[in-house]
């Protein structure tokens, strides 16, 4: 670990968990999320010396993660990742919180990738529409459309009853 820049290590310790949570919403499972963050951190580290001291590594890492996830998704077109599908018997044994977490992630995974990214960046990373649009390379209007359709689809995927019981 001594060969890792201490400032970078401090950043990972401070912000890594947040980005891991964003990653699990993008990918659907913790294993893939860890892969995504690790791969993105390696890319961030390569650019680390060029980042301004007062720069925003969060924004940079977020962009890397989104682009990396997009690349992985494109390469995984052939079939779903088996690790994302947990046996029902196991899910049923989960504590309520874990079951809800798994179901929400499963519902998110059912959304088109861009829609899912928009919802995660808007409602988990708390980014404004303009920033999400810049990050995903689309217009704010497209972000609005994805948001509206994504929320509707999420509600349908989770089921109205479930959504209302666990949501609000």
């Amino acid at each position: 670990m001594a060969d890792i820049d201490e400032r970078f290590a401090a950043y990972v310790r401070d912000r890594g968990e947040h980005h891991l949570r964003v990653a699990v919403l993008l990918t659907g499972d913790w294993h893939a999320a860890e892969d995504l963050v690790q791969a993105s951190l390696v890319k961030l580290y390569r650019a680390w010396p060029k980042l301004r001291v007062d720069g925003d590594p969060d924004a940079y890492l977020r962009r890397i993660m989104v682009n990396t996830h997009r690349s992985w998704w494109r390469a995984r077109w052939r079939r779903e990742t088996p690790a994302g599908e947990l046996p029902e018997t196991v899910t049923a044994d989960f504590a309520d919180g874990q079951a809800l977490a798994a179901q929400v992630r499963q519902a998110l995974r059912a959304l088109p990738r861009q829609q899912r990214a928009v919802l995660v960046l808007r409602y988990f990373a708390d980014l404004p529409e303009a920033e999400v649009a810049a990050l995903l390379g689309c217009s704010p209007g497209t972000v609005k459309t994805h948001t509206r359709r994504g929320l509707q689809a999420l509600r349908e995927n989770l089921g109205e009853d479930h959504y209302e019981r666990h949501g609000n």
Binding site: L25, V42, A75, P82, Q114, G167
Partner: protein, 281 residues
């Protein structure tokens, strides 16, 4: 903020509350960085000194810089040669979980592919409904129900934008080229015995490796090489074992196996792009 947005925020927060214990990003980063540096500097199939030492300890083929052993060299050159000419590929995949010592959720998947790697042509179809084509620098994926462009059924992606998969997660969806790259990392390759098929004879090789010990993926399989030095079959099994935090609850392991059978080497491959009015990006 409306109720729906509030609900989404609450659900997303809930969806990240089951983070498994044992994830150490810094530790994982150090390993990933080592792997990245190794990958960026490696030329050909050269294993790290540590892996080579492990291979030597189990008295099988050991790689050292600049002296590729016959078995691994034979296997990797056969796969490389296979993937530089047109071929027909039959693919059988299976996966299952091990939960409390029992097999759960077995999943099977089969596809057939015609490909010409030199001309970047590919046509894949699977009984599950997956259909894809690569032609003219684009990959087209058949999408029965597109939420983005209703009425259009072919997603078009620039083929050049498809990047290699990560070492671990990528195993489950790897292309033959990516599988070859992983096999080059194998710590051990041994001759398993003679093999034959319709119109050919050859040799079967076995390989195994444990990758990323921190996350524990065991890789094993066989490659069958014919007398012309072409890979005829490839079986790759990956076992993701139950390291703390990898799987929730009683889930102990995920096992996936991919079996590829190559044939019709050099046969002409013709792939046509979908109608332009049926594609979207």
């Amino acid at each position: 903020m409306n109720d729906t947005e509030t609900e989404a925020r609450r659900l997303f927060a809930a969806a990240t509350q089951d983070m498994p214990p044992g994830i150490d990003l810094l530790d994982g980063f150090a390993a990933a960085r080592r792997q990245d540096r190794s990958r960026r500097t490696r030329r050909g199939a050269v294993l790290s000194a540590g892996i080579a030492a492990a291979a030597a300890a189990v008295t099988v083929v050991t790689l050292t810089r600049g002296s590729a052993p016959p078995a691994l060299a034979t296997v990797t050159s056969a796969l490389t040669r296979t993937l530089t000419q047109s071929y027909h590929l039959s693919e059988q995949d299976s996966s299952y979980y091990i939960v409390n010592g029992q097999i759960r959720s077995p999943h099977h998947h089969a596809c057939t592919t015609e490909a010409d790697p030199v001309r970047h042509l590919l046509a894949t179809s699977c009984p599950s409904g997956t259909v894809a084509r690569e032609v003219g620098g684009y990959l087209y994926i058949y999408t029965p129900r597109s939420a983005v462009s209703p009425g259009k059924h072919w997603l078009r992606i620039p083929a050049a934008s498809i990047l290699p998969l990560p070492a671990i997660g990528g195993f489950t969806t790897a292309t033959p080229q990516q599988m070859l790259a992983e096999i080059k990392k194998a710590a051990t390759v041994t001759v398993a015995g003679p093999a034959s098929g319709p119109g050919w004879t050859g040799t079967r090789y076995a390989f195994s490796a444990t990758l990323n010990p921190g996350t524990i993926v065991k890789l094993s399989g066989t490659v069958t090489v014919d007398r012309q030095g072409r890979a005829r079959a490839l079986v790759l099994t990956m076992r993701f074992t139950g390291a703390p935090g990898i799987f929730p609850g009683a889930l102990a392991a995920l096992v996936t196996t991919r079996a590829l059978t190559f044939s019709d080497f050099g046969a002409p491959v013709t792939v046509t792009p979908p109608p332009p009015d049926q594609t979207f990006s």
